[in-house]
């Protein structure tokens, strides 16, 4: 397994030797800046910079003598609210007045730790660090106030932007304390006291996102909106088949278009493709329109290369054939083969899901300005440090000579952690000597994505005379993400296997999971909830099949199969379970918590009293991913023409602790819609190696009249460490909808998307 796959898929983090070391590093960085005597400058919102504040105790925090507080958002805002929620945690522990806090968006820099905003990990990896950052600064303010009054620090408490001497009621504002606080020694980890939950001012209550007004008035800046004086606009004709090579081109017509300055060849990428620019012919023009019009007039002769054989229908057949043959074992419990022999009943099924595109509303866009061996970039990216690395490789310069300014992201879903588009802008800026803006069309976005993988699955279960599963065999076959970074890779990584495949939670005496190889012909990448999408669709649909086969209520059957609450540790089961990069001790796979969300979803939806019948039914699915437990009950209606409506979806969520509850709910409301697109609409196909879809007419996504009318999110307080929320709502949605369709129509959906099938 390569390095990238480890970081991206198994979500292993750069080692922080200990949190204390990390914190001390942060604080010492700040102290150095202070010792160097950096004078605070008055900072406008546009040029916020914590290093220029009077007191900069951490890379994440700065305070000025006027009492203003700057908190650094080092993760990318793509709609989860993280640019608000992590700074809010610092502000809470600091006892800062939120109205006096301004947010600085960090450039890419390793000093912040990981900035790779994916894997639903921002809160779970940085919650404690942000709390300690705020709490340490609060303690220093309290100690400064104690020294000022010549009283014991234990009598001084920070509260809402001031420190109060409790016995006398004297008060002093944070701003007045900044100069003295900066001279306080850095507190040791053992001195830092985190707040008790009942003392929280914002955590668990939440605040509105900081960009709310800018978004609603059109002043928020996304990658597409980046602008510097003198910039030119580029549009690129890329090889239509992955790995295709430019044989020749004629740009004479293109150059006649008014506003066109020049055309430039970008070298083709070499396998493995990773994040390289794909290459092609670029048109440079005075504006977006001229560039895109001229590009259409390029006459290009391509050599398509070996992937031109890729054709979806035959490829699908080969995946299904592989899924029906014995494959590599990735988890084994008991003896499945013997158990099938003695089972009262055997049930088998094949499932299939297609390739998907991310299709964020803002297609990829970047602006780059190269000068004298250094390049500055402004872009919508989930990972500015990866931008530094990718661009530095593309230009043959040092990563430190690449500055990456992070704009807001108009959606991302995993697409924008792959900065091939930033490399394009940087290459073109170097070649033209001008700042170059590249903004992809929707067709480019759909044609040149890092696709969510297509998957074929096979299931076989043996039931005892009471209908309970006593043997379960499952195989999945899909081209893996690893193929993008190692073109010889054909098997799923441990990370992909750990996304809903190894970790089937049912207590089945004989269980075996297998995975077969598949060659990729497109760039495969991670999309919101990744391999959980197909694995949960297969597993959660098949268990529903078994419930109906046994004549049992699906929720009751599901809970019986789950067994008594236990912690699954996979000991002696030949399984390499990665647990989203987290230790099983701190984040166990606890089936008791899964049971609890199932019960809550059933209770809140009124499952026990709902009577599914022709045309109107309820479906259920539950799935743990990104360490979060989720159960969904969905109500559907299918009319006589087969038209599907989703009136209500109830989702129960145990994410340990909800830091910004309204944003947690928003993520699950959104995931229900995203999952609806997966279930009903999404499908990428290819012929002659070329993707056949290009815009929202051929790659439809859910609209307001197709989405669940109402999604009710029920947060179950697990009381533990906060876990992921951006992705875990997606996996249960499609199987819950399809299970409801079975209850309403008797038609079992074993292949997505639904729009290709007749429901009545």
């Amino acid at each position: 397994m390569n390095r990238l796959e480890r970081t991206k898929i198994e979500l292993v983090h750069p080692p922080l030797t200990s949190r204390r070391d990390f914190l001390e590093t942060l604080f010492s960085a700040g102290a150095m800046v202070f010792a160097a005597g950096v004078v605070p400058a008055s900072v406008s919102a546009a040029e916020l910079d914590v290093t220029r504040t009077a007191w900069n105790p951490s890379v994440y925090l700065g305070l000025d003598t006027d009492g203003s507080v700057i908190i650094v958002a080092h993760r990318s805002e793509m709609g989860t609210g993280i640019r608000t929620s992590l700074p809010m945690v610092v502000a809470d522990e600091l006892e800062a007045d939120w109205s006096r806090v301004r947010i600085e968006q960090a450039v890419g820099d390793k000093k912040y730790g990981s900035q790779d905003t994916d894997g639903s990990q921002s809160i779970r990896d940085f919650y404690a660090i942000m709390r300690e950052t705020g709490a340490a600064a609060r303690l220093m303010l309290e100690r400064a106030a104690a020294a000022h009054w010549n009283v014991s620090p234990h009598e001084c408490d920070a509260s809402n932007h001031q420190v109060i001497h409790t016995p006398t009621g004297r008060k002093i504002g944070f701003g007045e304390l900044v100069t003295a606080a900066a001279k306080q020694p850095m507190p040791s980890k053992s001195d830092i006291q985190l707040k008790k939950p009942e003392q929280f001012r914002y955590i668990g209550k939440g605040v509105s996102i900081v960009d709310l007004k800018d978004i609603c008035t059109g002043t928020a800046i996304y990658g597409f909106d980046a602008h510097v004086p003198g910039m030119v606009y580029a549009s690129i004709e890329r090889p239509p088949v992955l790995g295709g090579k430019l044989k020749g081109y004629d740009d004479s017509e293109a150059r006649k278009v008014a506003g066109v300055q020049q055309t430039i060849v970008i070298d083709g990428a070499q396998p493995p493709y990773g994040f390289q620019a794909l290459g092609g012919v670029a048109v440079i023009a005075d504006n977006t329109w001229a560039a895109s019009q001229a590009r259409k007039k390029l006459k290009i002769d391509w050599e398509y290369g070996p992937h031109a054989i890729f054709e979806s229908e035959s490829y699908k057949k080969s995946l299904i054939e592989s899924a029906n043959k014995p494959q590599r074992v990735v988890r084994s419990v008991g003896d499945v083969d013997t158990a099938f022999g003695s089972a009262a009943k055997v049930v088998e099924a094949n499932y299939y899901t297609p390739l998907l595109a991310h299709a964020p509303m803002e297609p990829p866009a970047a602006l780059a300005s190269y000068r004298d061996g250094k390049v500055e970039t402004w872009t919508a990216t989930q990972d500015p440090q990866q931008v530094q690395e990718t661009v530095s490789k593309a230009l043959g310069i040092n990563p430190a000579d690449v500055t990456c300014h992070v704009t807001l992201l108009g959606g991302a879903f995993g697409r924008k952690s792959k900065p091939d588009y930033v490399a394009e802008a940087a290459i073109l800026s170097k070649k033209t000597g001008k700042p170059v803006k590249i903004s992809w069309t929707r067709e480019e976005d759909i044609h040149f994505d890092y696709y969510h993988s297509t998957s074929a699955m096979y299931f076989k279960a043996g039931l005892d005379s009471a209908g309970k599963p006593v043997a379960w065999l499952q195989r999945s076959v899909f081209p893996p993400i690893g193929s993008t970074f190692d073109d010889k890779e054909t098997y799923g990584s441990a990370g992909e296997m750990s996304q809903g495949w190894i970790d089937v939670p049912f207590d089945i005496t004989n269980f075996r999971a297998e995975n077969g190889p598949a060659e990729a012909h497109l760039r495969i990448g991670w999309l919101r909830s990744v391999a959980n999408i197909y694995h949960a669709f297969g597993v959660q649909s098949f268990i529903d099949e078994l419930a109906h086969s046994a004549g049992k209520d699906p929720v009751e059957y599901w809970l019986t199969a789950l067994g008594s609450p236990r912690r699954i540790d996979f000991a002696g089961e030949k399984a390499k379970y990665t647990n989203y990069g987290k230790p099983m001790t701190a984040y166990p796979l606890d089936t008791g918590r899964l049971k609890r969300v199932v019960e809550v979803a059933a209770e809140q939806s009124g499952w026990a009293n709902k009577k599914s019948g022709p045309g109107h039914a309820w479906g259920f699915a539950a799935h743990r991913s990104f360490l979060t437990y989720v159960a969904a009950v969905v109500e559907i209606e299918v009319d006589k023409q087969g038209k599907l409506q989703i009136p209500i979806m109830d989702i129960a969520v145990d994410c340990g602790s909800a830091i910004n509850p309204d944003r947690v709910k928003a993520q699950f409301e959104g995931a229900a819609v995203f999952g609806t697109s997966v279930a009903l609409l999404g499908e990428i196909t290819a012929a002659d190696g070329r993707v056949q879809q290009g815009n929202f007419n051929t790659y439809p996504v859910a609209r307001i009249n197709e989405a669940p009318f109402e999604t009710r999110v029920h947060i179950v307080n697990g009381g533990g460490l906060p876990t992921g929320v951006g992705e875990p709502g997606v996996p249960p949605t499609a199987p819950a909808i399809c299970n409801a369709i079975f209850a309403a129509t008797g038609k079992r959906i074993r292949e997505l998307p639904l729009r290709k099938q007749k429901l009545v």
Partner: protein, 151 residues
Amino acid sequence: MIQLKVNGKTKSYQGDPEMPLLWYLRDTLQLTGSKFGCGMGLCGACTVHVNGEAARSCLTPMQSVAGKDVLTIEGLSEHGDHPLQRAWAEANVPQCGYCQTGQIMQAAALLKTKPKPTDHDIDEAMQGNICRCGTYQRIRQAIKIAAGVKA
């Protein structure tokens, strides 16, 4: 030479008359609140008002707006306090926010013709505007708040 009004101000344009209004707004006037999402009128992210009616600026050639009044999100209200903008904030609608200016402009056109829209009216008017983050139920809620109808 094409003359038009953008957010009340008279503008003159000399250039390709086929160029869509969206690129004039974004590249020439730096009014980047109107977004590109599809270029085919399929997603609504570029929605503006032309003579008071919702229009997809990505499909609106400059020559077709000669002599007309164009209103963009930047001109919808002086202080960002149009009833819909306030309702959008009250319901915490946006996630990534990219499509929301188009959603608000579309909803503003809806409320002009149907001040008290039903759910069906909202579906009809808003189904051309895609939100990939999936904020639809809050969009519906915000429209109802602004219209003063029961959510």
